[in-house]
């Protein structure tokens, strides 16, 4: 989907600050623009605030200060337009966040709730044939068409995260945010899921921001790296010019 050719930034943050309670500042004065179609890795040590920052973008967390624009729309303008902004943002979670008791197919069908309300997107049994077929195609793209009828809680970690990626595809978003998509998986499954995720996102020309504490993933899959530390941006550069050594020295 074209993101509007006049738009220079898919996501634009300026002067963003967030603290939890008094004096516990997570980050302050964070500003950057994300170009449409780019894959950006947001890296940082544990507790650097990358998850909090990512969650501010669809306003799952309210920042204290600053401005967030997604595809030109002001996220913090009010609750009214929020749902339509959110519908254009896919989100992949560290813990996958599937409904364990429902089938993989039903979980993917849920992705359609971004664009249609009502019972037809609640459960695959209630969905029209077109929706079920689309969900099946999304599962096929992550290589899991064979487990469509299985309960989500019976899948392996890697499979479960792939179902979550299929759910995000089902949403037909312009932008996909991913919070440590590989962190809950064993190293091999994590590498596989990251590779699949990046390949799909490039094929679909989505704008992507993913957080990771895995520097290898950041350099292998992103066009640009934004490094967060002690609540500030330590580095913001295209991946090409950065070596893993440079990143390691950032975190001592």
């Amino acid at each position: 989907m074209a993101v509007g050719s006049t738009l220079t930034a898919a996501i634009s943050l300026s002067g963003l600050a967030k603290s939890f309670g008094v004096g516990k500042q997570v980050f302050s004065d964070i500003s950057f623009d994300i170009a449409p179609g780019s894959l950006v890795a947001l890296i940082g040590a544990n507790g650097a605030g990358k998850s909090t920052l990512l969650r501010c973008i669809p306003r799952l967390i309210d920042p204290d200060q600053g401005e967030i624009k997604v595809l030109g729309a002001d996220v913090l303008a009010g609750r009214r337009g929020l749902r339509s902004i959110r519908s254009r943002l896919g989100f992949v979670f560290q813990k996958h966040n599937l409904v364990g008791r429902l089938s993989a197919l039903s979980n993917v069908v849920h992705g359609a709730q971004a664009r249609r309300y009502g019972p037809r997107a609640w459960h695959q049994a209630l969905s029209p044939q077109s929706l079920r077929a689309e969900a099946m195609a999304c599962l096929d793209r992550v290589g899991l068409a064979s487990v469509a009828a299985q309960r989500a809680d019976s899948l392996s970690g890697g499979q479960s995260q792939r179902v979550a990626i299929a759910r995000a595809l089902m949403q037909r978003p312009d932008i996909v945010l991913a919070d440590e998509p590989a962190a809950s998986l064993d190293p091999q499954a994590g590498d596989e899921v990251m590779a699949l995720f990046a390949t799909l996102m490039r094929e679909e020309r989505k704008t992507v921001v993913f957080t990771s504490h895995n520097l290898t993933h950041a350099l292998a899959f992103a066009d640009r790296v934004i490094a967060l530390g002690t609540g500030r941006i330590l580095l913001d550069a295209p991946t090409q010019g950065i070596s893993e050594g440079t990143l390691r020295t950032l975190y001592g």
Partner: protein, 262 residues
């Protein structure tokens, strides 16, 4: 090794603890004297109990057919009351669950209503509905419905509140509607607990339904009342045994279903 002082068996109670213990003990003793229960009374009552048992045995099968019909009607009252109650419990539970309800005031109001339904005994509800809709099973069904709401709405709300917040967050992040979040994430997760509560509601309503007839709200209770008043103790025995079997069968069936589903 250093000398150790053996601690006393019980810690020294504070004055407040001591006074409260004494007050509770006094109240328990006075409870017995007020209600007039004594071993002597029990012993004197034994022969009368024996005579009653003698007159009850053997149970009379003379009116077995009407008794069984009335038992079926009683169970049907329980089923109808439970189903109606569960139907209304679902929306009330959503309104009473803090993370799903539109406003904290609504949570407070609905919880209050549900607690009121629960604390007023079903027999009192039956009397109220007999006055409202007249004698007969309809009053009984309504009483059981209210009683079920008092029980099920509370546990439904707790089950929903306890579900994993992750899938909810995923649906929120994609801009899903509140009803979408409830029906595609919260209820599927809470379902096993809700089925369990529903089965308990049916058991509770079955036990409740047998006495509602005593106040004219339909069911087998009226048969029991009439046979006791006419001193037809052998009839009464049949009815009591029939009630016992019904409750037993429903409880067993519900346990079986629970084992299969959960």
């Amino acid at each position: 090794m250093a000398d150790h002082i053996l601690p006393s068996r019980m810690g020294r109670p504070s004055l407040l603890t001591f006074v409260l213990t004494l007050a509770v003990a006094a109240f328990v003793i006075s409870s017995f004297s007020t209600s007039g229960v004594s071993l002597e009374k029990l012993v004197r009552g034994l022969p009368a109990l024996g005579r009653l048992a003698d007159q009850m045995f053997p149970p009379s099968l003379e009116r077995l057919q009407p008794v069984l019909w009335s038992l079926l009607q009683t169970f049907q009252m329980a089923v109808a009351g439970t189903v109606l109650g569960l139907f209304f419990s679902l929306p009330l539970a959503i309104l009473a669950a803090p993370s799903l309800s539109p406003h904290p005031l609504i949570v407070w109001a609905v919880r209050g209503l549900v607690a009121f339904f629960r604390t007023v005994p079903d027999l009192v509800w039956a009397i109220v509905f007999v006055i409202a809709v007249g004698l007969g099973p309809a009053a009984g069904v309504l009483a059981l419905m209210v009683d079920t709401i008092g029980f099920a709405a509370r546990f439904f709300a707790e089950a929903m509140e306890e579900t994993d917040k992750g899938p909810r967050e995923a649906l929120t992040a994609m801009g899903a509607s509140r009803s979408g979040i409830i029906f595609s994430s919260v209820i599927p997760q809470a379902l096993p607990s809700m089925i369990n509560t529903s089965l308990f509601s049916l058991e509770k309503a079955t036990r409740g339904s047998v006495v509602l007839g005593l106040v004219g709200a339909g069911g087998i209770g009226i048969e029991l009342k009439v046979s006791l008043e006419l001193f037809d103790y052998d009839q009464a025995a049949t009815i009591i045994i029939a009630i016992f079997l019904l409750v037993l069968v429903v409880e067993r069936a519900s346990t079986w279903v629970r084992g299969r589903i959960l």
